[in-house]
Amino acid sequence: MKSYLTKVLVIIFLIGAFSCSKDDLRQYDLKQQKDAVESLNDPYLLSSIIKKTTLFYQDMGWASTKLPGAVQFTERNFQGGDNTYSAFAGPLDDMYSAMNILKFVDASIKLAEGRGSKVHVGIFTTFRVLLFSFMTDMYGDVYYSEALKGREGILYPVYDKQSDIYPGLLKELETASSNIASASALDVISPTYDLMFGGNKTQWLKFCNSLRLRLLMHSSAKLSDNGAKIAALATQPLLTEDADLNASMAFVGTTQQNSWVGGPLNWSTNGEFERRKPCKTLADQLTSLNDPRATVWFAPVEKPWTSDPANNGVKFVTTDANGFTYTSTWEYVDMTNPKIAEQVAAGNILDKDKAYVGFIAGMKGDFKNGNGHYDVSAGGLYGNFKVSEYSKLFRQNAHALLRAQIMNKDEVQFILAEAAVKGMISGNADTYYRKGITYSMKRWGVKDADIATYLAQPAIALPGDNAGKLAKIATQKWTALFTVASEAYVELRRTKLPNIFSNGLLVNFPFPNRYRYPGGESGQNKTAYDKGVSTLSPAVDNEFSKIWLLQ
C-alpha cells in the first residue's frame, strides 16, 4: 500500500504541475497592454484626424456623386439619380460619418488637454468645428452640446437649434485660435505627422481663422454682428498670402486607402470613371471664357461633332498641361446617315465643333444618347464618344494637383470679395476676386501667363452694380470649388448664384435645401428628432424644408 501511495503522490504532483503555472497567465503583460491602448500621442492623433477629416470631406466633394451632381459639376452617365437630386429624397446617414470622426476628435482633445498641449487642442477643435458645421449646414438642428456624451450618461441627447450651434461653433473657433496663437514655443507639432501644414503653427492659425471666416459668411444673413466680426477677422492672419498652403492633404498613392478615389487602386477598371462626365454647366462656363482649367480637368471628346464635312475623320492629338495625351477624331454631322439625322431631329446634338463638351444637367432616360451619341454598341456600356470624360489626371492614384481638400486659399479670397462688395470690409472686391481666380488657377497648375491672359478678358471684369459683382464672384467661386462640392452646395444654396437651377433638364426638379435626417433618428431618438423637425420651415423632414440659415 505504501509503495502505491508514493506513486499516487507522484501522479498528483504531475497533475498539479500540469495545471498551475502562474507565469503562463501573463498578468503583467495583460495589464500593461490594456493600459497602453487607452492613450495615444499627439502626432498620431493629428495625422489620424487630418486623414479622416480630409478624406471624408473629399468623399463629399468628389467620390460620392450626390453633391457634385447637385451643384452640376458631375453628371453620371448611368443609373443612380444623382443628376436629379434623388439621393436627397431619402434619409441620409452622412451625419453619422461625421460623428464617427468627431468621436475621435473629442477623445483627442481630452488627451491633448491632459498633456497640456494648447496647440493640439486648438487644431483638434478646429476640426471639431468643421465637422459640426458640416452637420448643421446639411441637416439644420443637430447633436451638439449633448453630442457624444454616452459615457457621461446622456443616452438620449437632444439636438441643439442651429441658431445656437452657429454662435457656439464661432465661439469655439475663437478659443481655438487663441489656443494656437498663445501656445508656447515648446509646444511643437510633428512636421512628419502634420499631413496638412508640415508642423507650421502659423498656417494652422490661419486655417482656423479662415474657417471662422467661412462660417461667419455662411451665417451672415442671420447673425447681425457677423459683418463686424468679419471686418475684425480680415485683419487677423488668414490663408491669403502667396506662400500660404491650402488646408488640404496630399495622397501617397501606394495603397487603396492612401490614393485618390479615381485612381486604379480604387477603381481597377474604367467603368466608374467613364460613367462620370463633366456637367455641361461647368464645361460651358469654362469654355465660354477660354478657361485654361478646362484642359486640366477635362479630356477632349473622343469623336467630336464637326459641321465641316472636310474635317470628317480627321484625327487630332491633344497633350494637356500635365502631359496626358488624347486622340480625337472629328465626325461630320452627316444628315445622310439616318441614325445621325434622327439625333439631329430629336435636338440631341447640343455641342459641335468643340473639343470640351459636358453632359447636360439632369440627364436621365436614354442617357447614352447624350449629345447625339448614336453609335451605342460601339461605345460600350459607359462610353460616350460625344461628351468629354474627366482628364486622365483624375485617373491617377496620386498627383501633385490632386489633394484631399477642406478649404483652399481661393475660397478665402472670394469670401473677402463678397464681404467687400457688401461693405463689411474695406478692401477692393476686384482685387480679392482676381486673387481668388489666380489662386484657383495656380492650384491647378495653370501658368502665370495664361492666368494673365484669362484675367485680361473683358468678360472677367466685375461690372459696376453690386448684384452683377456678386453674381460674377459667385460664379468664379463656384468654379473654384470644383472638387470641393460640399462647400459649393452650401454656397449655391445660400447665394442662389450662379443661377443654374433650371439648367438642362432640371426644370421640374426643385433644388434641395437640406438633407433628411438619418433613418434611425425617428425611431431611436424620436424626441430629439421631433424637436429638430419642428424648427424647420415648414416643419417637415424633407429636402425642401428650410433650415434656420435659409429662413
Partner: protein, 1115 residues
C-alpha cells in the same frame, strides 16, 4: 485508388498475422427463452469483442472462441447472460425475460455514471452502432435524425463541412450588430470527461474547414450522450448552459482476454444533385442596357441568334463576331463532379488481468464534388487502463487527429466560385468545357484567359472559373491532440477518489495562394498581382479535476455524494502574415510581397478558471430520487476582472411503477422534474476608449489610428439561465414500446449584449443586460418493436422536437420605442422587442402603404410610380421565421435473418429561408422571374419583351397627367418593353397638402395611359430590392439521410479465412430530398457565408448524395 487497396490489403495481412497466433475453440449450443423455446436471432458474443454470431432459426449457434473466453448472450427484452466457456464444447443458454432494462446506466456530467432510471432529466445517447451504420465520416452529421431535442444544421452538403448544433433551440438574444443567435447557442463538448469547449464554425477567408469535432473518427466512439440542458449540464456551469454533448471513446476494457483486431472500411461516391437553374432566354447585358461586353449581368438581348456581337472566345483566345445563342448548360452541373469518400479504421484491443488497451488508426480521404478540392484525415487513438491493485486504477487516453486539405474552395459567399457560376455567368457564355485552358497561350502563370476579356485581350473583365479553381488555393491543416490521465482510487465501499487531468491542443495552419492573372497588365507595375497569406494558430487547454465520491445505502436510502474541484487553464496565440499582392508571379513567399502590401498581426490570450462543485443524489426505496448540484466558478485573469458565480440545480424523479402495482405490461413509469440555475461568465470589463493603429499605414513614415469606443453599463449584472423541465418515461411490454416525453421552459435572464444606442451618444451600443428570452418546447422519443419473430425483427424509433423562443423582457434602457431592428443578412432585419419570437426576420425596407379607405394596404407609389420607403418602422413587414415548427427524426431497422435494412429520415416542418441565390439571380437577370412577372412575384407586371409579358410604351404625351407623361417620356426606351410596380399613386393634380381620399388614388396599371412605367430592370428591380419576401421560401423538407442494407456473412463462409463477423453493407446518405418549395436548394444549408446567419441561403453546394459500401470484419 489502387494504392489504397494495396494499403488496405497490407493492413489485413497484419491483422491476419496477429490473429493466427491465438488459440481457438469451436463451441456450439442452443439459446432458448424462459419457456424453453429456441430463440432465433439472439446474439452470442465473446465478451469484450465484437466477435460473435446470431443464432439461427432453431436458436443454434456455432462460434470459435479463444481459450478462457466468456460468452455474452443477449436478445431484446431478455436479460443478458454471461457464461464462462472453460473446457465446454457445447453450451446451451436459457435467457430470462428481463423485467425491464432499468439497470441501464448512462454517463452523466463530469463522467459520473448513473442508473438511467434514477435520472430526473432527459438524456439521449447514441451508440456506436448507430453512429457508424451509415458510414458517415462526420460524427456530428451522423447524429442527425437520431436524437430528440437537437437541431443540426450543416453549413453545406460537403461531407466534411461544419455543423451547427442547437440543443432545444437557442435562447440567445439577437443584437443589433449580431443577429446570429444560432452560433451563440452552441453546446459544450466533452470528450472522455475533458471539456473541449464550445465549437463554433471554423472558417478562414470564407472557407469552411469543418468543426474540430467533425475530425473525430466515428469508429472510435463508444457513445455520444446529449445532456439537454438545465439540471443535466448544471455541473459544467455556464459553459454547459446550452447543453452538453459528451463523447465517450472506445476503450479496450471489458473485452475478452488477449488481443483482438477489427477492421472497417467504407467507400462512397458523392454526387451532387438538385442544381439551381438559370434562365437561358436572354443573354449578357447590363441593367437598363443593351448588350455590353463588360458585364456579367443577363439583361441583354434574346438568345435566338438574331443578335450578332463581338465576343471573346475563350477556346480560340480571340475576339469573334458571332450570333448570340444560349449555351443551354447548367453551370453547376457542368462544373461539379462526383466526389468520393473513403474511410478505413483498424483497431487492436487488448484485455488482460491487470488492464486493457485499445489502439486504433483511422483514415478518411474525401475528394470533393468541387474540382480540385480534397480533404484527408488521419487519426490515431490509444486508450489504456492499468489496475495497480484492487483499489487503484490508472487510465490514459491519447488521441491525435490530423486534417489536411491541399485545397478547399470557398463555397459560401461572395468570392466563392459557386457565386460566379450561379449568377455571374450569362447563358451565352461558352460551355465550361471550352474554358479549360485558363492561361493565355504563351503566358502560363502570368496572364489569365478570362471568361470575359477586355478589348485587346490581355486584361480580364470576368475570371475564368477554372482559373479560380486551380489558381486560388486554400491550403489547410489542423493537428489536434487531446488526451487525459486519470486515477480512480476506491478507498473502501463508501469512498472513492478520482483524479483527472486532460488537455486539448489544436494547431491550425492556413495558406492562401492566388496566382497572377486578375490585375490589369497596365496596373501591375503599380499594384502587383496575386496574393499570399499565412495564418497559424495554436490553442491549448488543460483541465484538471479531483472528485471525491461517497456512496452509502442506509435502510431504504441510497445516498451518493460527490464533491470536486476543477482547475482549467487555456492559452492561445495566432498570427497571420498577408501579402496582399506579390511582386513576381509564381513565388508564394512573404519576401515576394509587393511593396506596401504587407500586413501582419499576432495575438494571444490566456485565462484560468477555478471551480468547486458538488452533487448529492438521494434515492428512496428505488422510487424517488432527488438530485442536488452546485457549482461555483471563479473566473477572470486580472484582479480587476475577477468575479465568481454559484450555479445550483435540483431535480426530482419518481418511478411510479415501483410505488404502485401497475399492470404487467408496464415495465417502468417514471415522472421527472428538474430545476437548474446557471450563471454566465461575465468578466468585469473596463469602459474605456482604446486606440488601434490602422493598417496599412498612411505612408511609410506616418501612422494613423482608430478609436474603439466601448461603453459598458456600470450597473451590469451577470446573466442567468433557469431551466425547468418535467418529463415522463414509460417502458412497456418488455421495452417493445418505450416512450419518453419532456416539456421544458428555459429562461435566459439578464442576457448580456449590446443595446443599440442613439448614434448621438458617440457609441453604437452599450454592453448591458439586454433582457430575457424564454424558450419553451417539448420533445418526445418513441421506440417500437412491432415484430420480433424467428426470422424477422423490426424496430422503429422516432423523435420529435419543437421549441419556440420569445423575448419576454427588454432592458428599460432600451430605445423608448421599445423595439429596434437589428441588421440581418440578405437585406433582412431582426426585431428586438418584447413578445418577439426568436428567428423572425423582417423586410429591410418599411414600405409606404395606403392607411385608410378602399385601397388600404395597397403600396402607395411615388409620383414616379416607385414603391416608397416609409419613415414609420411599423410599416416594416415580417418575412418569416427561420426556425422549424418541428423536427421529426425516424430511424428504423428491419432485420431478416442475416440481412438488416436501416433507414434514417428526417422531416423539418415549417420555417422559411431567404434565398440570396434568388436575390443575385434576380438582380443580375439570371432568374426565371427576372424575365417576366408571374405568380412568384406578384408585385410588378411586365416582361423583357412582348413574348414574356412586357407592356408597350404609351405614346408620347398619352397621359392626362403631366407628371406621368414627364416620367414615361423620359424613361421611354426602344430597347425594352415596359413594366410597372403594382400599387396606387395619388392623383398628381391633387393640390399639395390635400389629404387624399379614395377618389384621389389611381391604380397603377389600371389604365395603360395613366401608368408610371419603367424598363423591366427598374420595375422588377424596385420590387425585388424592396421586398425580401419575394425570395423567402418554405423550408419544409424531408431527407432520407441514411440507408444501409447489411449482410452478415455466415460463419461457414468466413471461418476458412480466419475472419469473423464479416459484415457487408450497401450504404447511402442523403439519398433523397424533398423540398416543399420545389426549389433546387437545400434549405438546411441556409447560412449565408461561413457561420453566418441562419435562414439565409447563399451560394452553398447543392445536396450531395453518397452511395457506397462498407465492409467490416474482425479476428
Amino acid at each position: 485508388m489502387s494504392k489504397k487497396i494495396i494499403r488496405i490489403f497490407l493492413m489485413c495481412l497484419f491483422v491476419l498475422f496477429v490473429n493466427s497466433v491465438m488459440a481457438q475453440n469451436a463451441i456450439t449450443g442452443t439459446v432458448t427463452d424462459d419457456t424453453g423455446s429456441p430463440l432465433p436471432g439472439a446474439s452470442v458474443v465473446v465478451k469484450g469483442t465484437t466477435h460473435g454470431v446470431i443464432t439461427d432459426v432453431n436458436g443454434k449457434y456455432n462460434l470459435s472462441v479463444p481459450a478462457n473466453a466468456r460468452l455474452v448472450v443477449s436478445f431484446v427484452g431478455m436479460t443478458n447472460s454471461e457464461v464462462a466457456v472453460g473446457a465446454n464444447k457445447t453450451i446451451n443458454i436459457q435467457l430470462k425475460t428481463s423485467t425491464v432494462g432499468v439497470e441501464e446506466v448512462v454517463v452523466t456530467a463530469m463522467g459520473i455514471t448513473r442508473a438511467k432510471k434514477s435520472l430526473a432529466y432527459s438524456v439521449s445517447a447514441v451508440k456506436s452502432d448507430d453512429l457508424v451504420k451509415g458510414g458517415n465520416a462526420n460524427v456530428l452529421k451522423s447524429l442527425d435524425g437520431k436524437v430528440s431535442g437537437v437541431n443540426l444544421v450543416s453549413l453545406s452538403s460537403d461531407p466534411t463541412s461544419s455543423v451547427l448544433v442547437n440543443i432545444r433551440g437557442t435562447t440567445a438574444m439577437p443584437s443589433v450588430g449580431d443577429g446570429n443567435v444560432s452560433l451563440k447557442g452552441q453546446p459544450l463538448y466533452v470528450i472522455d470527461g475533458i471539456p473541449v469547449g464550445n465549437q463554433g464554425v471554423s472558417a478562414i477567408n470564407g472557407v469552411d474547414f469543418g468543426n474540430i469535432l467533425s475530425q473525430l473518427s466515428p469508429e472510435d466512439i463508444e457513445t455520444v450522450t446529449v445532456l439537454k440542458g438545465g439540471s443535466a449540464g448544471a455541473l459544467y456551469g455556464s459553459a454547459g448552459g446550452n447543453g452538453v454533448i459528451m463523447i465517450t471513446t472506445k476503450s479496450g476494457k471489458g473485452g475478452k482476454k488477449g488481443l483482438g483486431v477489427s477492421f472497417t472500411t467504407a467507400v462512397t461516391v458523392d454526387s451532387p444533385y438538385m442544381m439551381l437553374e438559370q434562365q437561358q432566354l436572354y443573354g449578357q447585358g447590363g441593367r437598363g442596357d443593351d448588350w455590353a461586353w463588360d458585364t456579367t449581368d443577363q439583361w441583354g438581348p434574346r438568345l435566338d441568334g438574331s443578335r450578332t456581337e463581338n465576343f471573346w472566345n475563350v477556346k480560340t483566345q480571340a475576339f469573334e463576331t458571332k450570333p448570340m445563342y444560349a449555351a443551354n448548360e447548367n453551370r453547376l452541373d457542368a462544373y461539379l463532379q462526383n466526389g468520393s469518400t473513403v474511410t478505413s479504421n483498424v483497431n487492436v484491443n487488448g484485455n488482460y488481468e491487470k488492464g486493457s488497451f485499445r489502439f486504433s488508426l483511422g483514415k478518411m480521404e474525401n475528394n470533393g464534388v468541387m474540382p480540385n478540392t480534397k480533404t484527408n484525415q488521419w487519426s490515431a487513438t490509444m486508450a489504456s487502463e492499468y489496475k495497480l491493485n484492487d483499489k487503484i486504477k490508472i487510465s490514459a487516453n491519447a488521441n491525435y487527429t490530423r486534417t489536411h486539405s491541399p485545397n478547399k474552395a470557398n463555397v459560401a459567399g461572395g468570392s466563392g466560385i459557386l457565386n460566379g457560376l450561379m449568377y455571374n455567368m450569362p447563358s451565352n457564355m461558352q460551355p465550361l468545357s471550352d474554358m479549360k485552358d485558363y492561361w493565355l497561350t504563351g503566358f502560363n502563370g502570368v496572364l489569365e484567359n478570362g471568361m470575359i476579356m477586355q478589348p485587346g485581350g490581355v486584361n480580364v473583365k470576368a475570371a475564368n472559373p477554372w482559373w479560380v479553381t486551380y489558381e486560388r488555393i486554400n491550403i489547410f491543416s489542423r493537428n489536434n491532440f487531446f488526451g487525459k490521465l486519470q486515477m480512480d482510487w476506491k478507498f473502501n465501499d463508501q469512498f472513492a477518489l478520482l483524479l483527472r487531468s486532460g488537455m486539448d491542443n489544436i494547431q491550425e495552419n492556413y495558406e492562401y495562394r492566388q496566382s497572377f492573372g486578375t490585375t490589369n497588365l497596365a496596373n501591375r507595375p503599380a499594384s502587383g498581382d496575386g496574393a499570399f497569406m499565412v495564418n497559424e494558430s495554436n490553442s491549448l487547454s488543460i483541465n484538471s479535476d479531483a472528485i471525491l465520491t461517497y456512496n452509502k445505502t442506509v435502510n431504504k436510502f441510497d445516498i451518493s455524494v460527490s464533491g470536486g474541484v476543477n482547475y482549467a487553464y487555456g492559452t492561445s496565440n495566432g498570427y497571420y502574415v498577408s501579402a496582399g499582392a506579390l511582386s513576381v508571379p509564381g513565388l508564394f513567399t512573404i519576401a515576394n510581397v509587393f511593396p506596401g502590401r504587407l500586413t501582419a498581426n499576432y495575438g494571444w490570450g490566456t485565462g484560468p478558471s477555478i471551480s468547486a462543485y458538488g452533487t448529492a443524489d438521494i434515492g428512496w426505496d428505488k422510487q424517488v430520487f432527488v438530485g442536488v448540484t452546485g457549482r461555483n466558478d471563479w473566473i477572470g485573469n486580472l484582479k480587476e476582472e475577477k468575479i465568481n458565480y454559484f450555479y445550483p440545480s435540483v431535480s426530482l424523479s419518481w418511478v411510479a411503477s415501483e410505488t404502485f402495482k401497475l399492470p404487467e405490461a408496464f415495465n417502468l413509469v417514471k415522472a421527472r422534474l428538474g430545476l437548474a440555475n446557471v450563471g454566465n461568465g461575465l468578466v468585469k470589463q473596463r469602459s474605456v476608449d482604446t486606440y488601434t493603429f490602422e493598417s496599412p499605414d498612411w505612408s511609410g513614415s506616418v501612422k494613423t489610428a482608430n478609436i474603439n469606443a466601448s461603453l459598458v453599463d456600470p450597473n451590469i449584472k451577470p446573466m442567468t439561465s433557469v431551466t425547468k423541465e418535467i418529463g415522463l418515461d414509460v417502458w412497456m411490454l418488455n421495452k417493445k414500446l418505450a416512450f419518453d416525453f419532456t416539456y421544458f421552459i428555459k429562461d435566459q435572464n439578464n442576457q448580456l449584449g449590446g443595446i443599440p444606442l442613439v448614434q448621438g451618444t458617440g457609441f453604437t451600443n452599450m454592453t448591458t443586460n439586454v433582457g430575457d428570452v424564454r424558450n419553451k418546447g417539448y420533445e418526445w422519443g418513441l421506440t417500437v418493436s412491432p415484430v420480433r419473430t424467428k426470422d424477422w425483427n423490426w424496430d422503429i424509433t422516432g423523435n420529435f422536437t419543437h421549441y419556440k423562443a420569445t423575448i419576454i423582457r427588454l432592458s428599460e434602457k432600451f430605445a423608448p420605442a421599445g423595439y429596434i431592428f437589428g441588421n440581418y443578412d440578405g437585406k433582412a432585419k431582426v426585431k428586438i422587442a418584447e413578445g418577439e419570437e426568436i428567428g423572425n426576420i423582417y423586410e429591410e425596407n418599411p414600405s409606404l402603404k395606403v392607411k385608410e379607405g378602399i385601397y388600404k394596404g395597397q403600396y402607395l407609389l411615388s409620383n414616379k410610380g416607385k414603391i416608397q420607403r416609409s419613415a414609420d418602422e411599423k410599416d416594416r413587414e415580417q418575412i418569416a421565421n427561420f426556425n422549424p415548427d418541428y423536427i421529426i427524426g425516424i430511424n428504423t431497422t428491419i432485420r431478416y435473418k442475416s440481412f438488416s435494412l436501416n433507414l434514417v429520415g428526417s422531416l423539418r416542418k415549417g420555417g422559411k429561408y431567404v434565398s440570396v441565390n434568388r436575390q443575385y439571380q434576380d438582380s443580375n437577370g439570371a432568374s426565371f422571374e427576372s424575365v417576366s412577372s408571374g405568380p412568384d412575384n406578384p408585385r410588378w407586371s411586365g416582361g423583357r419583351d412582348e413574348a414574356t409579358g412586357g407592356h408597350a410604351w404609351p405614346a408620347i404625351g398619352a397621359s392626362k397627367y403631366a407628371s406621368v407623361n414627364a416620367y414615361n417620356d423620359g424613361n421611354h426606351s426602344d430597347l425594352h418593353d415596359a413594366g410597372y410596380a403594382k400599387g396606387v399613386f395619388v392623383n398628381p393634380n391633387l393640390p399639395a397638402g390635400t389629404i387624399p381620399t379614395d377618389a384621389d388614388y389611381i391604380v397603377n396599371g389600371a389604365d395603360p395611359n395613366n401608368t408610371y412605367y419603367d424598363i423591366p430592370t427598374d420595375a422588377f428591380g424596385d420590387v425585388i430590392w424592396n421586398f425580401t419576401s419575394t425570395r423567402a421560401f418554405d423550408a419544409t423538407n424531408f431527407k432520407l439521410r441514411e440507408v444501409s442494407l447489411s449482410y452478415n456473412l455466415p460463419k461457414s463462409a468466413t471461418s476458412a479465412l480466419h475472419v469473423n463477423n464479416v459484415n457487408v453493407s450497401l450504404i447511402g446518405r442523403n439519398v433523397f430530398q424533398w423540398n416543399a418549395s420545389g426549389r433546387n436548394e437545400d434549405p438546411e444549408s441556409a447560412f449565408s457565408g461561413v457561420g453566418q446567419n441562419q435562414g439565409i441561403l447563399r451560394a452553398t453546394l447543392p445536396p450531395v448524395r453518397s452511395l457506397g459500401f462498407k465492409l467490416s470484419f474482425d479476428f
